[in-house]
């Protein structure tokens, strides 16, 4: 057992951080915010902690606290700046933000160590500490998937105009989701820096965003367990058992992702639904059918019937 753990610890750590990062994207998406900015705040968290601990000699706890507060302030400001962007435009702007963070990490030598990065970051958190952080985050996400908050989130991502007409302050909710997403990204960065003890610009950028998204979508975008499942599958199983074929890893990951996207719209988490359809149907409420929302950008009167995952045998009279 102990042998097994030490042999797999690196993969487990990778899975934990990947799950945190995937969860950070998820909490934005589930409120209807197509933002990847949390991957940029992953860099802020990692470099912030690295700088305060390794360079300035702070303890990990005060450093992490300050970094999370800085993340909240910065992400709130960014949310104000990006407030009017929607959908693919927001996605694009936040991808640019992620890349700017990477460029900033390369250029701001005095804090980030430039291309060489930061090293000697104290390994204060450990696998257990990061697992605790992840457990806490997943617990919050699981609780807010149900009840009034869960209903509000579903409403927000399905129909913004309706949400506002039912008393939801859409902009405010989007900002909260954006900041919460940034905080989770920052926590993932803090965890990664503490686990690796080094952090370089190589650990940032587009490919990190891609891994987080892939893990999320394969795991299950709309269920709280999706990030965990995706993180375990990609950063643990595939890394551990695909090592011999690492040359083909890109092909395996890509193909697996496409297959899941096409055949399992709810990701691997959706498989549980087969075991327990009643509970998850309400909780996850992801897509299972309907002819694609190509015209749903304008949720007008004609959208009836487009957004409804009805099992065929239940199809009664509809519009």
């Amino acid at each position: 057992m102990i042998d097994w753990f030490s042999g797999n610890e690196g993969y487990i750590q990778g899975a934990l951080v990947a799950a945190l990062l995937a969860a950070s994207v998820q909490v934005a998406l589930r409120a209807g915010v197509l933002s990847f900015a949390s991957v940029g705040f992953y860099g802020v968290g990692a470099y912030g902690t690295g700088y305060l601990t390794a360079t300035q000699g702070w303890g990990t706890a005060p450093a992490a606290t300050v970094v999370v507060i800085i993340t909240m302030v910065l992400s709130w400001l960014l949310a104000l700046v990006l407030a009017r962007l929607r959908a693919l435009y927001l996605a694009m702007a936040t991808i640019a933000f992620v890349l700017l963070v990477q460029i900033g990490a390369l250029a701001w030598d005095s804090v980030t160590g430039g291309p060489l990065g930061l090293f000697g970051i104290p390994p204060a958190l450990g696998t257990g500490g990061v697992a605790l952080i992840l457990a806490g985050v997943l617990a919050v996400n699981a609780l807010t998937q149900r009840g009034a908050v869960g209903r509000r989130l579903l409403l927000l991502r399905k129909d913004e105009a309706l949400a506002s007409a039912l008393g939801v302050n859409v902009r405010h909710q989007h900002q909260i989701a954006f900041v919460w997403s940034a905080v989770l990204g920052s926590l993932a960065g803090i965890s990664q820096a503490s686990l690796l003890t080094v952090f370089t610009p190589e650990n940032l950028g587009f490919s990190v965003m891609v891994s987080a998204l892939t893990a999320l979508v394969v795991g299950g975008t709309w269920h709280w367990s999706g990030p965990l499942i995706g993180g375990v599958v990609f950063s643990w199983f595939l890394s551990a058992y695909l090592g011999f074929a690492s040359d083909y890893r890109g092909v395996v990951e890509g193909a697996l992702t496409v297959v899941v996207l096409v055949f399992l719209p709810k990701g691997l988490a959706g498989l549980f639904e087969l075991l327990d359809p009643g509970r998850l149907r309400r909780a996850a409420a992801g897509p299972t059918g309907g002819p694609g929302g190509v015209s749903a950008g304008v949720p007008g009167g004609a959208s009836t019937g487009q957004d409804r995952p009805v099992p065929a045998q239940e199809m009664g009279v509809s519009s």
Binding site: L29, G32, L34, V81, L82, R84, L85, R86, A87, L88, Y89, A91, M92, A93, I95, A96, F97, L99, L100, I103, L106, A107, K158, E160, V210, L213, T214, V217, T221, D247, Y248, R249, G250, V251, E253, G254, A255, T257, V258, L261, V262, P265, G286, P287, T288, G289, G290, P291, G292, G293, V294, S295, A296, G297, V298, P299, G301, Q306, D307, P309
Partner: protein, 297 residues
């Protein structure tokens, strides 16, 4: 300095071809196609394999073959991944996000295959494919490859603009970009139109890739990445779906990048496109986000 301008024009021509394909798929299929850079790379690999296995083919044949190969690849991606995903998505947000991720996954497959195929090394198209000549024009060196790149960009842009303005397909594409249910009015199914748009998009990426490989002398598996993000900056500057705007801003970006790189250094030049994306999106969202007009509901 004027030598820099010649380089900027060649770069702008590649940006143009690359961006036109991307703006088609965004405008017509509403997909943020992050595999466009990979298809661009695949175009160079098609050309490379062709020159390896059938040496002595004329350049035009190689270019057309790479064009067809890239177009087929893009159509395959649409048929196997994008279309089924759109058909099973619950709403627009879901469809946009999942096709975006599918495009990343497809890019990962293509880039990995190209990487294995090339042994993760840069690969060069043979010199004999296109003999290089240099001309002196008003004291500036201009190569025949630079002229070819410019001419190809101009000719293809003009053809594409004419196609979209004049042909039945083009009108249907514009109608769909304006109103997603409108394709049927012109008598062309949305399905055909989506495949046509992806074919055109892939063809343009393939041509751009081969021309860049010839221009630079070599290609590698990751060469598409940096172009992808610059193209997004260009599209956002131009407005999604605007072909003429994409052409204009492709050259404008290349020129500004060249000037910034010359006077301020490479770091600033590399950040320029990303800063532009954020700044333009923030300052002019109303013009750019016009399709999101839910007030009309």
């Amino acid at each position: 300095m004027s030598q820099q301008l010649v380089n900027a024009i060649a770069l702008g021509s590649i940006y143009t071809l690359f961006s036109l394909g991307l703006t088609l798929s965004w405008g017509i299929l509403n997909v943020l196609n992050l595999a466009h850079g990979a298809i661009f790379t695949a175009g160079t690999m098609f050309a490379f394999l062709l020159t390896e296995h059938a040496a002595g083919l004329p350049f035009a044949v190689v270019l057309v073959a790479a064009l067809v190969g890239s177009a087929l690849l893009a159509v395959l991606m649409e048929a196997v991944a994008f279309a089924p995903i759109r058909a099973r998505s619950a709403n627009a947000l879901d469809a946009e996000m999942r096709t975006l991720i599918a495009s990343v996954a497809v890019a990962s497959i293509i880039v990995t295959v190209v990487g294995i195929q090339s042994d993760h090394q840069p690969y060069a198209l043979p010199q004999s494919l296109l003999e290089r000549h240099r001309y002196d024009l008003l004291g500036v060196h201009v190569s025949n490859v630079q002229i070819l790149v410019l001419v190809a960009a101009i000719v293809l842009s003009v053809l594409l603009v004419l196609f979209v303005r004049r042909s039945r397909y083009g009108r249907a594409m514009r109608a769909v970009a304006f109103d997603r249910t409108a394709a049927g009015m012109v008598g062309i199914s949305a399905r055909t139109l989506q495949l046509a748009a992806m074919a055109l998009s892939g063809a343009l990426a393939g041509v751009a890739g081969v021309l860049l490989a010839v221009y630079l002398g070599a290609a590698d598996a990751h060469m598409g990445d940096s172009f992808l993000l610059k193209a997004f900056a260009i599209i956002i500057l131009a407005g999604v779906g605007s072909l003429e705007g994409a052409v204009f801003f492709a050259y404008a970006l290349a020129l500004v990048e060249t000037l910034v790189g010359y006077y301020l250094g490479g770091d600033v030049r590399d950040a320029l496109a990303f800063v532009l994306i954020v700044v333009i999106l923030v300052l002019r969202p109303q013009g750019l986000a016009a399709r999101q007009g839910w007030q009309r509901a």
